[in-house]
């Protein structure tokens, strides 16, 4: 695993307005510490490691371009998380557009066979049911039960109210519970 670009200074001077703001975010460290976890987060939405890698790659490139997101490590990580969620959403939408009009199999769109084989049956089933939920439900569940974010953090990440997070999670879990019972 490489580091973020060798050419990027550890402490980036980001132009803001007419002045220059010194910022203290170490993108290299962010990449080192969070890249794998972000890919894992993306793969839970797009169910394909290569596609997840693309999504995270784009998120890091986007981070570098957004000087304002570099004010502090927490803001940068929150930006990356949002970018990964949006990138995964784009990837899923593009995949659906293609499937809507052609009977084709995208090489990137299907999980590797051995990945499903290696999961317990119950885990495979619950993840399959999650993928049938609306994307917003999937995002809330992912941030809550995998990223283990608080309701406030999820609300901030998704740009919705805390109440929306709470009700979305509750409804999604209820739907999931019923779907699991129906599939037994």
């Amino acid at each position: 695993m490489g580091t973020f670009a060798e050419s990027v200074p550890q402490h980036v001077g980001a132009a803001v307005g007419t002045g220059v703001m010194a910022v203290s975010v170490d993108i290299d460290a962010l990449y080192r510490d969070h890249h794998l976890r972000l890919v894992r987060m993306a793969v839970l939405l797009v169910d394909s490691t290569p596609a997840a890698e693309d999504v995270v790659q784009d998120a890091f490139l986007g981070l570098h371009r957004r000087a304002e997101a570099l004010r502090d490590p927490d803001a940068a990580l929150a930006y990356l998380r949002r970018a990964v969620l949006n990138g995964a959403k784009d990837a899923l939408r593009r995949r659906r557009t293609v499937r809507a009009h052609l009977s084709i199999v995208e090489p990137d769109s299907a999980p590797a066979a051995d990945e499903n084989v290696m999961l317990a049956d119950e885990h495979s089933r619950v993840l399959a049911e999650v993928r049938r939920l609306p994307l917003r439900d999937q995002q809330v569940l992912l941030l809550r039960y995998w990223s283990e974010l608080s309701e406030n953090e999820i609300a901030e990440t998704l740009g919705v109210s805390r109440g929306t997070v709470k009700s979305t999670a509750s409804r999604a879990l209820d739907k999931l519970q019923r779907a699991m019972e129906a599939s037994r």
């Binding site: 050419s7 490691t49 490139l61 939408r93 557009t97």
Partner: protein, 431 residues
């Protein structure tokens, strides 16, 4: 925690743990800091970064068609950095309009449209600026979209897809009404006609070397459209790129950290992007290009590199919902009767394609004009009018009505009804 919560948490962990460092094929992305090359080390070429030399309507059509993919398509090859052999000279460049003798003297305000009165029958219609219609031919399929209209205005490429069986790309000659068909059986990245006469297609293919992608020129009717081997390589694609003309010769304009005009590999001119990294949209004037940046739509001049903000982001678009151009849904802009109209994302779902700018250059969406819902598509613009295709239900494949909106006269005129797709010839540089 309830049982379902525990099960979900465990399933997430189990699935995520299957991804290890060893599975990852990409290295870290390089920061987009180079003044000329915008290809990222270790990143996969992504079609999403390519702005396309297609018309607005054709882009919409292609997005809807699906078979001719203009959106992202990941590959699993890393791409080496592209280094231009010569540094960019001081930028001063004049864009021109390619000189093409058009069939039937077709010019701004003419429209070619696909109409449908029955579910499996489409009719190709030519409409002149006065509204007079000529029926060209009837096509049978479950789905039809116009993909491109040749620069000499004699040939139209139509994508047809039946519910079962192979889709096809049909080129129709407006003069003779003859048809040339190519079967499709996979994913295609179709860039539009390659030549002014519409005798060949531009198609994106993976380079045989495995590094990067190229445009292959495929003759219409050659039965080579399904080939994955390029017959001719026109140019190597580098990041965002559109095609333009300088002194009558084709050039590419690429985005990224700089807006660079290239003839082949040679850099003719280069100016820094006005907002970090920008993607070219189209040529705006003889000396400037419209680019999309995180700050909005901006014109960049090749006379010294100064930039002018045309439109700020639409505050109504809080996040990219997948139907909008990343990140703010802005697609294009056109000025009519002293008022700038911003064209927003593809007309699908809840998109609102037309917005007027307020005095602070913030887009304010136009929901309806003269009582007509205009959240469909902009098919073209002349120096006097916008051509708007109202699509019922918001998404292509439904039929709608094509209108001509004249801001100076404050009129909204019906051009054609029952339309599924249309391209209207615009003023030079609009597209």
């Amino acid at each position: 925690m309830t049982d379902i919560e525990n099960l979900l948490r465990d399933a997430y962990r189990a699935r995520a743990d299957l991804v290890t460092e060893d599975d990852l094929t990409l290295g870290a992305p390089e920061a987009p800091a180079g003044p000329v090359s915008d290809q990222k080390v270790g990143s996969r070429p992504s079609m999403r970064r390519f702005a396309l030399p297609l018309t607005v309507a054709a882009t919409v059509a292609a997005l809807a068609a699906g078979a001719v993919i203009l959106a992202s398509r990941s590959t699993h090859k890393t791409t080496p950095p592209v280094v231009d052999p010569t540094p960019a000279p001081p930028a001063q460049i004049t864009f021109t309009v390619p000189k093409v003798n058009t069939w039937h003297n077709i010019g701004p305000g003419w429209t070619v449209a696909l109409t449908s009165s029955a579910k499996t029958t489409f009719t190709l219609v030519l409409v002149d600026p006065s509204g007079a219609r000529t029926t060209i031919t009837t096509l049978h399929s479950d789905y039809g979209q116009i993909l491109d209209w040749s620069q000499n205005r004699q040939r139209v490429a139509v994508f047809l897809a039946p519910k079962t069986g192979n889709a096809s790309l049909v080129v129709i000659d407006l003069a003779s009404h003859s048809q040339t068909s190519d079967a499709l059986s996979g994913i295609y990245q179709f860039q539009g006609f390659n030549d002014p006469e519409g005798t060949s297609y531009d198609k994106v293919v993976d380079n045989p070397s495995g590094h990067g992608q190229s445009i292959a020129v495929v003759p219409v009717g050659s039965a080579k459209l399904t080939s994955t081997t390029p017959t001719h390589t026109l140019q190597t694609l580098q990041g965002s790129a559109i095609v333009a003309y300088v002194n009558g010769r084709p050039v590419t304009i690429s985005g990224g950290a700089s807006i660079a005009v290239r003839s082949g590999a040679r850099v003719l001119a280069s100016v820094p992007s006005p907002g970090g990294s920008c993607a070219p949209v189209r040529v705006w004037s003889t000396r400037s290009v419209l680019v999309l940046c995180s700050t909005g739509l901006v014109t960049v001049s090749f006379d010294g590199g100064h930039s002018v903000l045309v439109s700020k982001p639409d505050p109504g678009i809080k996040e990219n919902d997948g139907t909008m151009n990343y990140p703010y849904g802005l697609s294009d802009a056109v000025t009519l009767n002293g008022q700038t109209y911003v064209i927003e994302g593809p007309p699908c779902g809840s998109a609102y394609p037309v917005a007027r700018l307020d005095s602070n250059l913030v887009p304010r969406r136009v929901g309806s004009l003269h009582g007509v819902d205009v959240s469909g598509a902009v098919t073209g613009a002349t120096d006097k009018a916008l051509y708007l295709l109202q699509i019922h239900g918001g998404c292509p494949s439904d039929t709608g009505t094509l209108y001509r909106y004249d801001p100076a006269a404050n009129t909204m005129t019906t051009v054609l009804s029952g339309v599924t797709a249309a391209i209207t010839v615009s003023q030079p540089f609009f597209r």
